[in-house]
């Protein structure tokens, strides 16, 4: 009996290759796109969160410009309100902080030995290492004397080193050229493994004064990184900094502040609200594909209803019981949706892998997206494959044979 059922089903599916193929295609498209798009969205979200976490949890970043609006800093870094003196004042007047690192940053073309790369130049001081969790791999970071003398020395990230000097080369002691000025490389940082949007390994550090002198040409800074001595001091330190800077900038109304403070949690919140929107967008696209796939499946199933109703009429006319007819059509629908579902899941997963490689982030296939996509497609396939058949099997054979 079961053998008959199975043979009948397989034969029926194989005998209607176009119908079977298109139904499977509809399911595959729906499922694969949902899986891939949701995976990319989540991958992006995780990768950004990881990048942010790697910058340190006791970190407070002070940026110039107006107060945050709705959690997003307005034009951070564009206005010039923070100076090195502000940083010095914070360092000398506020307790429970372990590092204060003012910094300027800008992208420049960097060349060495005929190689060149476009990378982020950060002018800062030695506190930056502690504030941002940066470690030195070979050579050393610049110290106070090099800071004060505006020495033309640079510490480069491992990716930059590779781009300029090739793999396994030791760049310490070599010269790189930034904005037509020669800098001597004195150290290389340890890889932080950041990727994609915000690669913290593709970077060049130079002394703050040097950057202001040779590159930016003024004494303003783009931001000040402050590390609290411990997580527990974060709130006090933040309010003390705000108070101090308001006083120094002679601003009485704190809503008019010309700087803004962000801690790691704020940054994560901001970033996840952005990636959340991104994921939402991808999910909507995925939802639309699922809908399109579903309509395709439904359409395929419904356009064959006439032919299938007649077939069911004939089966009943020759004396096959209703239960076997129902079972056969249910099995058909189940096999189609599971076949399509299986292919769709594999395809979606492969697509996520390929996209991961292409845009260098780890796309994460989530079980819930697989289940959702599969559930919807399978539901549509089974309902629209089985329901008309069940109805037809309840007709008298003559009614079913006459159906049009």
């Amino acid at each position: 009996m079961i053998g008959d059922l199975f043979k009948e089903t397989v034969w029926s599916l194989a005998g209607n290759k176009v119908r079977s193929g298109l139904t499977i295609l509809g399911i595959v498209i729906g499922i694969a796109s949902v899986i891939a798009l949701v995976a990319v969205g989540q991958g992006a979200q995780n990768s950004i969160a990881k990048n942010i976490e790697s910058i340190g949890s006791n970190l407070i970043i002070i940026s110039p410009g107006s107060q945050r609006v709705g959690g997003i800093s307005q034009g951070g870094g564009s206005s010039e309100t923070l100076t090195t003196d502000d940083a010095d004042a914070i360092k000398s007047e506020i307790a429970n902080i372990s590092a204060v690192a003012p910094s300027v940053s800008k992208r420049y073309q960097v060349t060495a030995k005929g190689n060149n790369t476009n990378t982020q130049i950060i002018g800062t001081n030695a506190d930056y290492l502690a504030a941002r969790n940066v470690a030195i791999g070979s050579g050393s970071f610049f110290g106070d004397s090099q800071l004060k003398s505006s020495a033309k020395v640079a510490v480069i990230g491992p990716t930059t080193s590779e781009d300029l000097f090739g793999t396994d080369a030791d760049p310490v002691g070599q010269t790189i050229r930034i904005n037509n000025i020669d800098f001597k490389v004195i150290g290389v940082t340890v890889a932080k493994g950041g990727s994609g949007f915000n690669n913290q390994d593709d970077i060049v550090y130079v002394p703050l004064l040097t950057a202001q002198h040779y590159l930016s040409g003024n004494s303003y800074v783009n931001n000040i990184s402050v590390a609290a001595a411990d997580q527990q001091y974060m709130t006090t330190v933040q309010s003390q900094i705000t108070e101090l800077l308001l006083r120094r900038h002679k601003i009485s109304d704190s809503t008019q502040a010309d700087f803004s403070l962000m801690n790691q949690n704020d940054i994560i919140a901001t970033a996840s609200s952005i990636t959340g929107t991104f994921t939402m967008l991808l999910s909507s696209i995925a939802g639309i594909s699922l809908l399109v796939g579903g309509i395709g499946i439904m359409n395929m199933m419904l356009t064959t209803v006439t032919e299938r109703t007649r077939e069911i009429g004939l089966r009943k006319a020759v004396g096959i019981r209703k239960i076997y007819i129902n079972l056969q059509f249910l099995t058909e629908a189940v096999i189609l949706t599971f076949l399509g579902g299986g292919i769709g899941i594999i395809l979606g997963w492969l697509a996520s892998l390929v996209i991961s490689k292409l845009i260098s982030l780890t796309a994460q296939v989530s079980l819930s997206s697989v289940l959702l996509a599969f559930g919807v497609s399978a539901g549509v396939g089974i309902i629209f494959g089985f329901y008309p058949a069940r109805r037809a099997a309840n007709l008298s054979p003559i009614e079913a044979l006459r159906y049009e």
Binding site: D4, R315, G319, I398
Partner: protein, 232 residues
């Protein structure tokens, strides 16, 4: 074994009401060879569907081997059709894109019979219906009208039914093919099967031992006939 009492069938489609059968009564005994003849639209196919347990009358009673057919449930009707009735449709009704052999074996599905046995039986029935061996694996849509008719007849024989109902089995066929098919029915009748066949051609009807004439949904004449085997 077959008894109809005052069968009435009324089709209602939209506002249109068609009285296809207006009170048909007769008895047919086991082993009879009966022709039902009448002009097109007189209600022959409608009657045949009721006799074949494929459709229910609007009113009236139909007994088959003592069972009142309209009282049977869906599964009992299926079993009845499978075990007792071989039906040859006017429109053949073969499964599309399906081999001749598979079409003939269709009623044996879920019977628990082995594949070899099914194949053997199907081939026997096909040979019996005069089908060429070389066409057994052809798809149903690659056949001529006469070949489809033979496949339809072979399928009706597969369960060795006691009653064979054929709706205009020679309607689309040339004289030579018609003769082969009528020979098959005569042979089946000799073996003890009850044969009821519908036709609108007098010389086909003339093969039977009894002719029932239908007109406008009523039995006009019901009389024994001396079969004339030489015409067809």
């Amino acid at each position: 074994m077959i008894e109809c009492r005052n069968l009435i069938k009324t089709y209602i489609s939209g506002d249109v009401r068609t009285d296809a059968l207006k009170g048909v009564s007769f008895k047919i005994n086991k082993g009879e060879f009966v022709s039902i003849i009448g002009p097109s639209g007189s209600g022959k196919s409608t009657l045949m569907h009721i006799l074949g347990a494929l459709d229910n009358p609007t009113s009236g009673e139909y007994f088959l081997d003592g069972h009142e057919v309209s009282k049977l449930d869906d599964d009992e009707l299926s079993d009845l059709r499978r075990n007792k009735i071989g039906f040859v449709f006017q429109a053949f009704n073969l499964l599309p894109r399906t081999t001749v052999l598979r079409n003939v074996m269709l009623p044996l599905l879920y019977s628990g019979m082995t594949m070899e046995e099914r194949n053997k039986r199907a081939k026997e029935c096909l040979r019996y219906a005069g089908m060429e061996e070389s066409k057994f694996m052809n798809l149903s849509n690659q056949l001529s009208g006469g070949q489809m008719q033979r496949v339809a007849i072979a399928r009706s024989l597969i369960n060795n039914p006691s009653i064979i109902l054929a709706d205009e089995p020679t309607g689309n066929l040339d004289t030579k093919t018609s003769k082969i098919i009528m020979d098959a029915f005569r042979e089946l009748n000799r073996k003890g099967h009850t044969i009821i066949l519908i036709t609108h051609e007098m010389d086909v009807a003339d093969c039977a031992n009894r002719i029932i004439q239908i007109r406008d949904g009523l039995v006009e004449r019901d009389a024994p006939n001396k079969p004339n085997d030489h015409v067809i």
